[in-house]
Each structure stands twice: as C-alpha cells, then as structure tokens.
C-alpha cells in the first residue's frame, strides 16, 4: 500500500494559536459564582438551610473558596501572560 502523507493538511495556515486565554474564562466563572454564593451565605441564615449541611454555612464557605480560586487564576493569567506564537521549524 502507498505511503500517504499524514500531515497533508498541515500546510494550511493554523490560526488556533490566536485563541483567547482560557484562564480568564475560568476566573470569571469562579468569581461570579463565588460572589453570588458569598452574598447568599450572608443573607440567608434560616436554621433549616444551615441544618441541611450539618450546621455549616456551606454557601458562604464555598463562595469564599471560589473567590480565592478565581483570584488565583487571575493572578496566573497576569503573571504568565500568553506569549505570541513562535513559528516552529
């Protein structure tokens, strides 16, 4: 059988390197979720809601942790920005 060129389509210009930074999207998700949950944790203090998670204010704690994770992704994206693509070969 013949040897086909597997990389035949690679000559076409690849533009994927221009993709946006995924880290900012993750940061947005966690910061928004974190903010909403933190507020809900402060506002709602009905004993039934608290009892659901065994007395932990789980909304508040989850919210705070998410804000921290979101901030960490922001820091990472700022400290190590995407480099412009280097042409290989």
């Amino acid at each position: 059988m013949s040897e086909k060129d597997a990389a035949g389509t690679e000559a076409v210009q690849s533009a994927s390197s221009a993709l946006f930074d995924l880290r900012t999207v993750i940061a947005i998700l966690f910061l928004v979720y974190g903010a909403v949950l933190t507020v809900m944790g402060f506002v709602s203090d009905s004993p039934e809601e608290l009892a659901k998670a065994g007395g932990i204010d789980i909304n508040l704690w989850a919210g705070i942790v998410m804000i921290v994770i979101g901030a960490a992704f922001v820091a990472w994206a700022l400290l190590r920005p995407l480099k412009p693509p280097v042409a290989e070969e």
Partner: protein, 560 residues
C-alpha cells in the same frame, strides 16, 4: 411512580436558574470565540495541535467525567461502598501512565491524526476501516447513553419530558461543537472540569458533615449492614465482582478490570487519545494522560464518598439498601437525591450546572472524536479522497450535525436497557479489548502482518459478542459485571491468538515501512522529546510524573 417523581424534583429557586444560565452563556461564548480560530480542517478536528499540557490534561480527564461516570459511580458507591475505587485506581491510573510513557511517542510521533489512521500506517487500510466504522458506531451509541442519562436527569429534576429534554440538550452541545470544533469542545471540557468539582466538593463536605464525618459514615454503614464491613474495604471486592471466591475476585479485578478493560479503554479509545494528539508538542502530549491521572486518582473521594453518604442519609436509598420498598427510586438517583438533601439554594444551582456540564463533557467528547474519524478516516481516506481542505472542514461540520441527530436516536435505544453501566461496559468489551490486543502485539512484534491486524480485531469482537449473548441467554451464569470482565478477557486472548496465527501465514511489512511504528525499529532518540525551554524541569518529565501518580495510588490504597 408519580410519588417517586415528586420526591426527585429539586427545590430550585430563581437564583439557581440564574447560576445555570450564566454557565450556559460562558459555554456558548467559548464556542463563538473559538470559531474565529478555525481556518482549516486540522484546526477544527485537532485544534491545530497547539494546546498546552494542562489544558489537554484536564480535558482528557473531563472527557471521561460524563454523566455516566458521575451518576453511575455515585450509584455504585451507594450500592457497593469503597470497592468502587478500583474503577479509578487500578482500573485507570496504570493505563493512563502507560499511555503517556510507552504509547504516546508512537501515536504523536507518527503524526497520525486519529487511532484508525495509526492502524493504517502500522497495518493496512482494511484495519483502518474496520476500526473507523466500529468506532463511529460506538461513539454514536455512547453519546446516546449520555443524552439519555441527561434526559432522565432533566425529567426527574425539572419535570421536562424526555422528548423535550433530549433534543434540547443535544442542541446545546451541537451549537458549540459545530462552531468551534475540537478547541471549543476541549476548552469547554476544562471549564466543565471545574464546574463539576464545584458540584462534587461542597456535596461531599456537606454530606460528611451531616453523617458526623468519615468515622460517622463508617459507623453508620457498618450498623446498616449489621456489622458486615465489606463495604469499607477495597479488597477483595467480592460484592463488586459478584465472584464469591476472594482470590478469583482479586484476579478478576486485576486482570479483567485493571488490565484488559482499563488498558483497552484508556490507550486506544480515540475520544481520549484525541485530547493528547491536540497537544502542542511531544512533551505536552506525553504529559497529557499523566497530568489527567492525578485528578482521576482523587475524584473517587468526591464521587464514591457522596454515594456512600447517600446510602445512609437519603431515606429512599437506605431503604433500597436494606432490601425494602423504595417507591420506584433506584441507585442511579443517589447523586441527585443527596444534592436535594444537603445543598441549600445557591449551591444547588451550581450543582445543577455541574450535572449538566458532566453530561455535555461526555457527549461533546464523543461527537468531536466521531467527527475526526469520520472526516479523515472514512471520508478523506476512503470515500472522497483528494478534495480541498475547505471541503473536509465543511464535511466535519456536517458530521457534527448528523452525529448529534443519530445520538438522539441512540438515546431512545439506550432507554430500553435497564442498567446503563452494563450497556457501556458491554460496548467497551466489544470494541476496545480486541483493539488493545492487536495494538500491543503490533507495537512489540514487528513480524505481525497487516492482515493479522483486522482479522484479530474482528475475531476478538466476535468473541466478546459471543460471551455477551451466552450471559444474556443464561448459558453462562455470571453477573453482568463479571460477564463484561470475562467478555473483555476473551476478546483480548482471541484477538492475540488469531493475530499470531494469521501473521504466521501472511507476508509482514518490510522493516523500512515500520520505523516509528514498532518498538524495536524506532531509535531511542525519536521516542524521546525535547527537555529544554518550556519543557524543562523535573516536574515536566513524564516518567517522574508517572512514578509520582503511581505512588499516590498505592498510598491511597493503604489509607482507605
């Protein structure tokens, strides 16, 4: 049944839906932005081979974190307890490390764009076509199972009809994969990974808090089982395998699950391998499955444990475990019932988003890999060769649409199987075990011929189907779980035997055509990769990372 449905309905409020809606805005946004970066079929189908290792690694684990995984494994956790961790540890991590260290140099180094294409290079076109066709069929069926599971979830939680829920869910996945191709699918998989964790971690923490911590959980499980502590030890796992003899049970887990099923799935399933092939260089490709192995090793702590909590905390599941009347509730409801039991509004919305994400992760993985195999292996290499790249990009987009429509059909087919996990396991043993057999033989035995490739594949699949039929008509008295272990092992052994026999009577390929495709003919240097610049440092060495994750699993086995 009506009563059961009322029990299942989530106590959602407006804020929960706002959180879900926000997630969907991000998901579709990724699809729209990723579209800008698609200018060739390679961009669309393989992300232009440009992604960093942490992205492909998390996508690798996320592609496997579908609805089936979450719903099925938490259900198993509720039913069997700790032995379920075998699916994650011995049943995944060693194979993922093997893929990264041993096999990835051949996959990525050969520049094959898909698993079937690699088979064409190593064996012949027939092998490529046999594998491409079976893979396409399996992808559609598995995407269907994911869709069906999601449909059930939406029906139970939100009161949507299956006939509305299934097409609507398919439409969302379709929207972003048809726009942004594999990049959108992979980027969304990474996002999904985090949303799914945002569901699982608070659920586990809240659930454990309710039952009095880990010790409280163990105590309650022991009490419920009248002093029997089988559910609290991973070995010998007789309840899981349903093999009464402890020694045979351990052999079943180690060989059936840990070797044949697991290596077959992780090393040859293109839906997984594709994530590594889209990495930006050999080093990143080799690290992809190994980076994925770390979360994979830790995920059971937040999947199996909440399942176990549900088994003692949710009254209906506890009744089911005690053999009582659960009013139409099954173990598959464990996860959602626990969500309702322990999560307040707010986190409930996050959890719902995570659940929907987990479904989309599984389906998008199947659809995007189906795309690539159909477009490159079936269309470009077989049916319509020699067209422009733009043409194949259009084909790729069209296949996404057709694949989603077929998956909707398969979803209703899946509905006729009672236990979804069994259905998937049976599929894996039909397709993956024989594939792994000829793969590994072809890698280490250069004498293996092209004809041996496809005959071994077909013979192995027939063996697995035969075992499956024998179990179903009860000629073989095995549980469905043990049946799939035996079926996969038979497929592996028959595949090897037939491939060896056929190789003896057919002509092997000349050595010159096998360089880079078999172990002995590939110079050591070309199996290595650069270790400078962005690939420098011990923490970027695949072997070091692989050893670390194996140690992690051994430690986990000792701790739990």
């Amino acid at each position: 049944m009506l009563l059961a449905q009322a029990d299942l309905r989530l106590n959602t409020t407006a804020i929960d839906y706002v959180l879900v809606a926000f997630y969907f805005v991000l998901v579709l946004g990724i699809g729209v932005v990723a579209r800008r970066s698609v200018s060739s079929s390679l961009d669309f189908l393989l992300s232009g081979r440009s992604l960093p290792a942490w992205v492909t690694g998390l996508a690798f684990v996320s592609a496997n974190l579908g609805a089936l995984e979450l719903v099925g494994m938490s259900a198993n956790g509720a039913q069997y307890g700790i032995p379920v961790v075998h699916y994650y540890w011995i049943g995944a991590v060693p194979a993922m490390v093997f893929l990264g260290i041993v096999m990835m140099p051949f996959y990525y180094g050969s520049k094959a764009r898909s698993v079937p294409e690699f088979l064409r290079m190593r064996f012949n076109t027939t092998t490529q076509r046999v594998n491409a066709v079976t893979f396409a069929v399996a992808s559609v069926l598995i995407a269907g199972v994911n869709l069906f599971t999601l449909g059930l979830v939406l029906e139970a939680l939100l009161g949507w009809s299956l006939y509305v829920a299934i097409p609507v869910a398919a439409l969302v996945v379709l929207a972003y994969t048809v726009l942004g191709g594999l990049s959108a699918a992979i980027y969304n998989e990474v996002l999904q990974f985090f949303v799914i964790l945002a569901l699982l971690v608070p659920l586990t923490v809240a659930g454990l808090a309710r039952v009095g911590g880990w010790d409280g959980l163990k105590e309650k499980i022991t009490t419920a089982a009248a002093g029997n502590t089988d559910q609290l030890h991973s070995w010998p796992g007789t309840s899981l395998t349903e093999i009464a003899n402890p020694t045979l049970s351990v052999i079943g887990i180690v060989f059936g699950l840990g070797f044949v099923l697991s290596f077959g799935y992780w090393t040859t399933n293109f839906a997984e391998v594709q994530r590594a092939l889209s990495a930006r260089n050999m080093s990143a490709a080799r690290r992809t499955p190994i980076i994925a192995a770390f979360p994979k090793a830790l995920i059971p702590l937040v999947v199996v444990v909440p399942g176990m909590v549900a088994g003692v905390l949710v009254p209906q599941i506890a009744a089911l475990k005690a053999g009582g009347n659960s009013g139409g509730i099954t173990y598959n409801n464990s996860l959602t019932l626990l969500m309702n039991e322990v999560l307040p509004n707010g986190l409930l919305g996050v959890a719902l988003a995570g659940l929907l994400a987990s479904f989309m992760a599984g389906m998008a993985a199947n659809v995007s890999s189906l795309n690539t195999v159909f477009t490159y292996d079936l269309w470009q290499d077989w049916i319509r060769p020699g067209r422009s790249d733009r043409y194949y990009l259009q084909v790729g987009r069209l296949v996404t649409v057709v694949g989603c429509v077929l998956a909707i059909g398969a979803a209703f087919l899946a509905g006729s199987y009672s236990n979804i996990t069994d259905y998937i396991q049976a599929l894996f043993s039909f397709f993956n075990a024989p594939l792994f057999a000829i793969f590994i033989l072809g890698l280490f035995w250069k004498r293996m011929t092209g004809t041996a490739g496809w005959t071994g594949l077909v013979a192995g699949t027939i063996a697995a189907v035969l075992i499956d039929v024998l179990v179903r008509v009860k000629v073989l008295t095995l549980s469905s779980q043990a049946g799939s272990f035996v079926g996969a092992s038979a497929a592996f052994v028959v595949g090897i035997a037939v491939a060896v026999a056929v190789s003896m009577v057919t002509q092997p390929k000349p050595d010159s055509e096998l360089v880079g495709l078999t172990w002995s003919l590939t110079p050591r240097e070309s199996r290595e990769h650069t270790t400078t610049g962005e690939d420098a440092g011990w923490f970027r060495s695949p072997v070091t990372l692989g050893v670390l994750v194996i140690i992690l699993v051994i430690v986990l086995y000792f701790v739990i």
